[in-house]
Amino acid sequence: MRVRIPTPLRSYTHQQPVVDAEGSTVSDLLDDLDRRFPGIRFRMVDEQGRLRQHMKLWIGQDAVTDLSTSVSGSDDVTIMQALSGG
């Protein structure tokens, strides 16, 4: 499935804004993403498996916080990250 990558994480995807990854759950998808682009998962998900604060995942139009949520090959996944700060 297609995964949209926010700019702060594109150093991992060789600046690609959209990449492919596979998995039956969001967690699997992130694992696959990490296999393809080592290190990217830990920047988004902490060591206890929690999505880091201000990281958002969307499947289609639906925001997802539970990493066990199912995904299918036809889904478009969007990773978003707040850029608040100064």
Binding site: G39, F42, R43, D46, E47, Q48, G49, Q53, H54, A82
Partner: protein
């Protein structure tokens, strides 16, 4: 001669051949928060950088060639999955090379939680130091789950005895100084004689707020500490710190963040006092920046302000002051206003090396 300057917006390597004319390069890891950047004195070419952004998780970047090429730690510092307290590391705050006889060994301090992590492969993979992180007293000694330190609870000043790789010290803000003599399995507080004016007990065993702790490399039994409540020295095996900050001018006081040592003279140390009155502005006292040096292990102190601005309102954070190994020793500090100042004559005179950098968090000689 090169300085690694960690800032809120990236890392700068600033070099000089003569310590007078300095070249400020382009930023590395631009936009990322660099808490600490440290060169490995054991091999002269490895550099580790503690980095994060405002929202992404923490990590460590490493260079095997003095900064020409970089790669990310394949296993950054982290608590174990399924940790008994559900702890997740927010920031890698402090980096310390290990014992000289243990090439490739590093320690990292977290902020927060106040975790301790160790690498044995030059910073590529990190493991929690269970003896500290899972110590039965960890929840008592550390600020957990509540953080009382405004910028977050920190584990810093990880010190490895050059004579004995198993002999370690660390500092907690807040929490105090702790010592291990068995490689990090067992730990004990080491805070006798240190004030903790913000606690109700007159002489607590722990709960203090060391800002920086240093061991002299040639006299490893000598420790210096710049604490939230004063400047101290401890000559082991003594266990009671002496408040050498009582010898500072009363109008200046002995509050500050950094304390830095002369690499060859254990009696010489520099501090950068700050205003710890009222609501603690943490700028120089009366807005008049000045370093102080002692040449007699804290018995007397002398001001060093030649070249510094008459009035300024910056803070020098705990990792933002350092010395180099030159003769005479170079002394450097970075400010929250993004200025880097240096002295090639042991603090007798200061010049501004760089201006208009982001807020400076750390300065280390490489």
């Amino acid at each position: 001669m090169r300085l690694l300057v960690g800032t809120r917006k990236g890392l700068w390597a600033i070099g000089s051949d003569d310590r007078r004319a300095w070249s400020v390069g382009e930023p590395l890891f631009f936009g990322q928060i660099i808490q600490h950047a440290v060169a490995d004195p054991r091999d002269g070419h490895t550099v580790l950088v503690a980095t994060s952004t405002g929202h992404l998780g923490p990590t460590v970047m490493r260079s095997p060639d003095g900064g020409s090429t970089w790669s990310e730690a394949s296993k950054p510092p982290a608590f174990p999955a399924g940790d008994r307290l559900g702890r997740a590391l927010k920031t890698v705050f402090w980096l310390s090379p290990g014992n000289p006889d243990e090439a490739g060994t590093w320690y990292a301090g977290g902020a927060s939680p106040q975790g301790l992590f160790r690498s044995e492969d030059g910073g590529d993979t990190w493991a929690p130091v269970s003896g500290w992180n899972d110590h039965p007293q960890w929840e008592t000694w550390c600020e957990w789950p509540e953080e009382n330190t405004p910028d977050g609870s920190m584990l810093h000043s990880v010190i490895v005895d050059p004579r004995d790789a198993d002999h370690l010290y660390l500092g907690l803000s807040g929490g105090g100084v702790f010592e291990s003599s068995d490689g990090g399995t067992g730990w004990a507080p080491l805070n006798k004689g240190v004030a903790a004016d913000f606690l109700p007990e007159p002489d607590p065993e722990f709960g203090h707020d060391p800002h920086t702790v240093r061991m002299h490399p040639l006299m490893p039994d000598r420790l210096y500490q710049q604490n939230h409540c004063g400047i101290y020295r401890l000559d082991r095996p003594e266990e009671r710190w002496t408040r050498i900050g009582d010898n500072m001018p009363p109008a200046i006081g002995d509050i500050g963040f950094p304390i830095e040592l002369h690499p060859r003279d254990p009696d010489t140390a520099w501090v950068f006092p700050m205003d710890g009155t009222d609501v603690w502005p943490r700028t120089s006292v009366d807005g008049r920046p000045v370093a102080y040096v002692t040449r007699d292990a804290g018995v007397t102190w002398s001001p060093q302000s030649a070249g510094l601005p008459e009035r300024a309102w910056f803070t020098v954070k705990r990792q933002a002051m350092t010395t180099d190994p030159g003769d005479p020793v170079g002394v450097y500090f970075g400010t929250t206003c993004g200025e880097l100042w240096g002295s090639a004559d042991e603090g007798a005179s200061w010049t501004c090396i760089a201006r208009h950098l982001p807020e400076i968090y750390s300065v280390e000689a490489a």
